[in-house]
């Protein structure tokens, strides 16, 4: 049986979700998106620059068949996030939203109170809500109770590349909810993505680690492999950690004994 995961009514095979920001140019982004094997791609909603209405649109560079996940990035209140989500739905003709309500400019940490509030409104309006959250299991449970389709705790601050700062919290969080848990933000390199999957994340969402790598296309391949390796290791079941050695070769039948 294929190893798939579900989000609302959709079924996905790839467990890597990728962003579209910060790429040096659209052609590089397009090749990186293809190399990542991702099926879901995040996009932001912003005012159209009315002085440049003839410019190439981002959408023309996103490979056909990818599912768009509009975000509410840089929204600092529940109201702003709700308005942005509605505009994103009107733009994308889809009901998915990566819900962000930010509480602090320096860390971009979520405002969990605003997040839960906005989630309730959007769930009522029929959105499939995927909230970007901190790694607090209690908040995750509140988001699940609010009707969110998934919970997306951060591994570390957005764009920081610090890796998973609190794998123990992430593990507890994954035990605390039944909805899919995606690790969103903080991944710096392929081993971070693998660790997230080994912990039991359903998927990993990243942008900067690929877009700002020296070679974004090669890094997209690396992330794809990292996610796949981590997922397989999780399914395979790792050995317990031991303090002392456990010999791999027989300790009997040695010559001269």
């Amino acid at each position: 049986m294929a190893d798939t995961w579900k989000l609302g009514a959709r079924t996905f095979t790839s467990r890597l979700l990728v962003g579209t920001g910060k790429y040096p140019d659209f052609p590089t982004m397009q090749r990186a998106l293809a190399a990542s094997g991702a099926e879901v791609v995040t996009v932001a909603v912003r005012r159209l620059d009315l002085s440049k209405t003839g410019e190439a649109s981002l959408l023309e560079w996103i490979p056909k068949g990818m599912t768009l996940l509009p975000n509410t990035a840089a929204c600092f209140s529940a109201d702003e996030a709700v308005r942005t989500a509605r505009l994103g739905r009107e733009l994308g003709m889809g009901d998915l939203v990566k819900l962000e309500v930010i509480g602090d400019r320096r860390t971009l940490f979520p405002d969990v109170e605003g997040l839960v509030q906005a989630a309730k409104v959007l769930v009522k309006e029929g959105f499939v809500v995927m909230p970007y959250s901190n790694d607090d299991p209690v908040t995750a449970r509140k988001l699940e109770e609010a009707g969110c389709a998934a919970v997306m705790p951060l591994g570390a601050p957005i764009g920081s590349g610090l890796g998973l700062r609190n794998p123990y919290n992430l593990r507890i969080l994954m035990e605390s909810v039944k909805v899919p848990v995606l690790v969103d933000a903080g991944v710096g390199t392929a081993s971070d993505a693998a660790v997230a999957m080994e912990l039991g994340a359903v998927a990993v969402l990243m942008n900067t680690a690929i877009a700002e790598a020296k070679d974004p296309v090669l890094m997209a391949e690396a992330m794809r492999a990292g996610v796949e390796a981590g997922r397989k290791a999780f399914l395979a079941g790792r050995i317990p950690m031991r303090l002392h050695a456990a010999a791999s070769s027989p300790l009997t039948g040695l010559i001269g004994s």
Binding site: R46, L50, G159
Partner: protein
């Protein structure tokens, strides 16, 4: 008439519909979403929706983001 368009005060011909506004600005309707006084205007209402003096309009599109 004066309106607030993407945060800036702007002079527009009187009695524009959303369809006419987008044409006036040279914007392709299928690439954008429009908000009038904080509420989304769905595409099926572009033709009928009139814009009045003092209205606040937001025209948005998808850009790269994570």
């Amino acid at each position: 008439m004066q309106v607030r368009l993407n945060g800036e005060l702007r002079e527009l011909p009187d009695g524009l519909t959303v369809t006419a506004l987008l044409a006036h600005l040279g914007v392709k309707a299928q690439r954008v979403a429009v908000e009038l006084n904080d509420a989304v205007v769905t595409k099926d209402r572009y033709e009928a929706q009139k814009i009045g003096p003092g209205d606040s309009i937001e025209i948005v599109a998808f850009v790269g983001g994570g």
